[in-house]
Each structure stands twice: as C-alpha cells, then as structure tokens.
Symmetry: C2
Subunit: 394 residues, 2 copies
C-alpha cells in the first residue's frame, strides 16, 4: 500500500519507514526536523548517534533499493500537505508528526501555546488534505494512553456503554489528560472523530503506551539506519531514561512514590501494531480506537526490571525517588483494555528482558554521549509553572 508518514524523521517514524518498506509497502513522508532542535534546546542529545537526513536517504537506498520520498516541510502549512497528498495519493496516512513531550509543553506560556497550535493545526490540515486530495485514505493518528489519565474505572478502547439515570448510551470514554501536550492529543482525537462523522473519513486513533528500545530487526547492522534515543527530562521516556542511567551508573530516577502505572511496549511491537492497523483498515466513516501497549507496569516495577537486567551484565545500579515535578496521581487504579489489536493478530513481545538487554548493550557503546549530557536526566520543569531541580527524597 502507499503509506505517507508524517514525522518520518522521528523515533517511531524512521523505523516505521524501514519496517513498512521491508513489508513491501510504498512509503513517502515529511518532517520539519524539529525534534533534533528541541532536544538540543533542552540540553539533550540522542544517546545513539543518528545519521543526517541525507545519510539516512542514502542508506535507505542501499538497503532497500528504493529512493525514499522524504521531504522537509511544515505540516501546519496546508498547501504543502495538500500538494504532497495530491501528488503521492496515499492510501494510508500515519500521523506521527507532532511535538511529543509533556514537560516541553509545560515550560511556559510560549511552549504551551506552540505545542497546542502545532499539534491541533497540523492534525486538522491532515484531515482536510485527506478530504480534499486523497479522500479514501485511512488516517492512523498517534494518540497516547495519557489522554485517558488515571480514572478509577477500567479504561475501554475509546468508547463505553453506560447506564445513567435508567437510560443507556454508548459514549466516548472521557479524557482527563495530564499536560498541555496530552491535552493537544485529546483535542486531535475529538477533531478526528468529528471528521469521520461528517465526511466519512476512516480513522484509527492509537492510544499508545510508552515505547522503548533501540532497534528493529529490519535495520540490520547498518548504524546509519538506527533511530534516535532520547533520555533528557523532556523527550526521554521513563524506560529509555532508566537504561541510560544504568549504563552511566546514575541512580534510576523515579518521580514521587513511583507507583504510577503506565502501559509499555517495545519499539518492535509498536511497528507490528502500526503495521496491523495499516493492513486492516476501518470502513469509511469508522473512527476506531486502539489501546496499544504490551503490558501495564508501575514505574517502580520497570526500574526493577532494568536494574535486574543491568546486574546480569555487570552494571550495578541504585533506584532513587525524586520529588515529583508533575501534578499526577502517584498511586492509582489502572486497568486499560487492549483487545482490538490482539483481535487483529498482535503478538506481544513476552520477553521484555531481552529487549532491555539489547538496549543496554547498544547504549554501553555510547556511554560518553550520555555522560556528557547527564544534567538533562534530572527534571526541573514543574507542573505549577516554575523551574526547580528535583531532589532525592528516598
């Protein structure tokens, strides 16, 4: 199929181009390369060195024989998006092209506004460009499990049947997101659902858990095909941060009680799931929601997993709790469904430990890059709008 990837230079977008190409799909994509700038802005760096866009294209050609149509462009520029869609005629659009960091969106007014403006407008542009230039295309929109927040009831996949005062309805499950970034994803979910209702757009809204990992099999041993891996307070997810901390002997940093539960999945599972969504499109006018994760763990359970694997390869690490810069529930019920992807054939990675081990070995080769930017590991962006470096509390 002809698949357009918005955000093709990113942590997920780049491996997805490689994964889909290996499965015989025709891929094109766009990226403004902003992630590279944002990470530098907050004092971070990709723990694994990544190739430039030009080197990536060259390596992609060598590995696959295909010239990848990867253009630098701004998705908030409607003419760019519509023109590209008109030319490429995608059958599927995978939208990964957004600012993805909660703390980055919480820095100040300017970052909050920029995040919502960028994410909401570029998703609207993609919806309109599909309508006007490729109306049969299936939009796969990357949302996040964080859209739901942490309710005291089970989290269904997008919709639930409720009884209220003796009457029944199937309603969208309420969203209680925990950052300006997560709120932008909630807005996108509402807009996307509405487009399916009024235009017959076909859409899959992926509520993804936290992804971790450094590689997928389809990259082979070509280092120019590697994806980025961030560990700074903004763009580093918890488990990537833990692995980077483990290789430089820094205590694994939990926020607050460390009992926060989240859904997690390895990079290869994320690719597998996106592939399943692509190859099993919804009907016209159908808006479906997939909760996409391998399993739910508490942050402490995750840190203990990393600590255990690190010990196996001779890396002794501590776990420390830091005062929590975020406003979030630190101890809560968490039981999200994830049946839709299993129904499509998703085979979850059962052996998380071997994924973590491979990550640690990749990262050990790049220990100095992490050490040089270790300051970025400890958060100081606070949900109350201030800046104050978190301190060890236990």
């Amino acid at each position: 199929m002809k698949v357009f990837i918005a955000g093709i230079d990113g942590y997920l977008g780049w491996p997805l181009a490689i994964y889909l190409s290996a499965r015989g799909h025709e891929v094109a994509g766009a990226d403004l390369l902003l992630r590279r700038q944002w990470v530098a802005e907050v004092g971070g760096v990709s723990a694994l060195p990544i190739a430039s866009r030009e080197e990536r294209l060259f390596a992609f050609k060598e590995a696959t024989g295909v010239e990848l149509d990867f253009r630098v462009g701004d998705l908030t520029d409607y003419d760019f998006v519509k023109g590209f869609f008109r030319e490429f005629q995608p059958e599927v659009v995978v939208h990964l092209g957004q600012m993805p960091s909660a703390p980055y969106s919480m820095i100040d007014q300017a970052h909050c506004v920029w995040t919502q403006q960028n994410n909401v407008i570029n998703n609207l542009n993609i919806l309109w460009a599909i309508k006007e230039a490729a109306p049969a295309a299936h939009l796969i929109k990357l949302g996040t499990m964080g859209e739901y927040g942490t309710p005291a009831v089970d989290i269904p996949e997008g919709f639930f049947e409720v009884e209220f005062r003796g009457r029944n309805d199937r309603l969208p499950f309420p969203r209680q997101a925990g950052s300006w970034y997560h709120q932008s994803k909630v807005h996108d979910s509402h807009n996307t659902h509405f487009a399916a209702k009024i235009w017959g757009a076909r859409a899959t809204d992926i509520m993804q858990g936290v992804v971790f990992g450094t590689r997928i099999a389809e990259m082979g041993d070509d280092s120019r095909l590697r994806t980025r891996l961030d560990f700074d307070q903004c763009f580093g997810t918890a488990i990537n941060r833990f692995c980077c901390q483990a290789v430089i002997g820094h205590p694994l940093s939990l926020y607050g009680l460390g009992k926060q539960k989240r859904g997690f999945l390895p990079l290869a599972d994320s690719m597998q799931c996106l592939g399943l969504a692509i190859e099993n499109p919804p009907d016209a006018g159908e808006y479906r929601v997939f909760n996409q994760f391998e399993n739910a763990y508490s942050i402490t359970e995750l840190a203990c997993l990393v600590k255990g694997v690190a010990a196996d390869i001779g890396l002794p690490v501590d776990i420390k709790r830091y005062d929590n810069p975020r406003a979030e529930m630190e101890d809560h019920y968490y039981n999200p469904d994830r049946q839709h992807l299993l129904d499509l054939g998703y085979q979850p990675t059962r052996d998380i430990k071997s994924v973590i081990k491979a990550m640690l070995l990749d990262l050990l080769d790049n220990r100095e890059r992490i050490e040089e930017h270790a300051d970025a590991l400890i958060p100081d962006i606070r949900w109350d709008g201030g800046r104050k470096r978190s301190e060890v509390i236990g």
Copy 2:
C-alpha cells in the same frame, strides 16, 4: 468587583458591560471588532443598527458617568492580554471573545483552522495571563450546550457518577460537539479544567443555550446602547432568524425535521446568570460547569411560539422545512440538567412570549435592513464541506 470582559463589543459582551456597571461593578474589556467584519463577510448585517465603538463609549459615559476602559486588541497576542491584566488587576474575567459560529467554522479548511486557532489560543492566553498577572481572578468561560451534542442519556452539569464493570468514578461527561467551532469550545473546556487542576485556577464553564432578544432594561431608551442582532446563516441563531423572518413575511426556516431540541434563554436571563456566576465565585482550584438556559424546546416549538406572537401583532407567517445543511440528529432525546444556577438564585423568565413580542416590535422598525440582506437567511454552508443553497422540503 473588577470585571474584565473579553469580547466586550459583542452581542453578549456589550450588554454585560452595561448590566454589570449598573450593578456597581468596575468593568474593562477588549475586543478586536472582528464580529463586525465576519457578519459583513457572509453577507449579513445587524438587524438593529449598532453604534461604533467611539459612540458606544460616549453613550456609556453619558448613561453611567463612567469612562469605560474598552481597548481594541487581539487576545491571541499574549503580551496584550497579560499587560492589560497586570494593569487592570481583574477579580473576574468573563471570556466571550471568540468566533461563535458553527457554519462559519465549516466553510472550508481556512475557516476551520482559523476558528480553532483563534479560540484555543486566546483561551490559553487568558488562562496564562490570569496565572501570571492576576492569579486570584475567577475565569468565567463561555462554552455552549452544543459541546455535549445529543446523547441518549440525561446531560448533567459537566460531570457524572458512573458505574463501569463494577467500579465507580466521577468523570467528565463526554463531549460530542457538532461543528469545528463547537469542537474548539470542547478543547477550551478541557484546557480550562486542566488549568484548575495544576494551578488552582478558579473557573466557571458556562454551557449556554441559544440566547435571543434585543435589549435589557439597563439600556433604557438610548439607541446607542443597543446590542447587535444577527440573522444571517452563520451568526443568526434560530430564534433571532425566526423573528427577522416574521417581520419581513419570510417563512420561518426549519432545518430538516425541525425536531432538534435545544436549550434557549432570553438575553436578560443570560445577563442575570453571568451576574450570579460573577457574584458567587468558586474556590481556588475549583472547575465548575453550569448548564445555562431557561428551557429546552424543539425548533418547531420555537417557530410556533414566534408564529403565534407574530399573529397577535398582525404579522401572518408560514413555517417551512428546508433540507438540512448540517450533519446532526434531527429527532433525539434531550434532557439536560440546569440546577446549579437555580441553586444560586436564578429566576428564569417565564414569559417568553413577551420577550418575543418586544423583539418583533424592535425589528419592525428595521424591516428594510433585514429585507436588504434577506439572502443571508437561507443556508448554503454544508457540513459535508460543500456549498449548496437549501431548498424547501415541506
């Protein structure tokens, strides 16, 4: 109290300035005067002639003895908003300063994107400016009953207790808005709720019904103090449109089956309710939702009410059904709560007919203005993205 009105030149903003001033509050406000441009853009005009900003300020001074601080400025310009708040130090901010039309937001990609960008960003700016320049201020945000859509269950005020798979939680009531404009209001509700959670902002989110009417008592007989009244397909609400149609002998135009139910309230009730919200602020960190309407009627019931009152003053009118340009449920359950304002002392206008009669008499004086712009009464902006003038179907 010191009350800042965002959108002080508008249909509600201008009467609110007069109403609050008469009750002894100190009022200031901002407006970019865009409503005057939008209405012209879609071929409409205010059925009642309205004074320029300068004439309004002059008349306000004559009537109240007060120099009104009403500045022309853009709420998406953060420095303007924050600077004004820093100077004025509002205790209450009433945010009426948004693009308020569903059809206008549905015209095309540019109008959709402009609407969401303007409404989402200016609400974020107001939240941030309160935090940074007037942190104790109470935000009263104008939302709309349209945020809820038309679920098959009762509509509570913002939140509901649900049981799901044997567990219980109090959750935000799901929003299923029916236009890009209404979606922008949903986004604002989510953002405002989040600001209350993380910053302790105090916020009242008003889910208002359709407002109608031409005057409030506090305007006296000074025509320079009158508010606007629109009847075009974009900015004219159903009942204003019906009254304008009645005075020029145009059939009252229902969309589709005409069984759509909505909440309605007279302009004077809207002022009364906003006054109650202002004078009864929530606690710090409290986000409360008021459903604000006098009663729920079907569009056909409303049209029959207007027809009856028009007949009483010698204006014979027909009612016609037009093919519906919108994608909406035309026959549905509708039972929203509206207890919170009653608890604060809201005294609903029970005599809707006398309000309609006063409107018709005011409009009769301006029959020619309506006749000259009668083309704008029949819709052609369609929810499927096209343009096609609706035709009579019954």
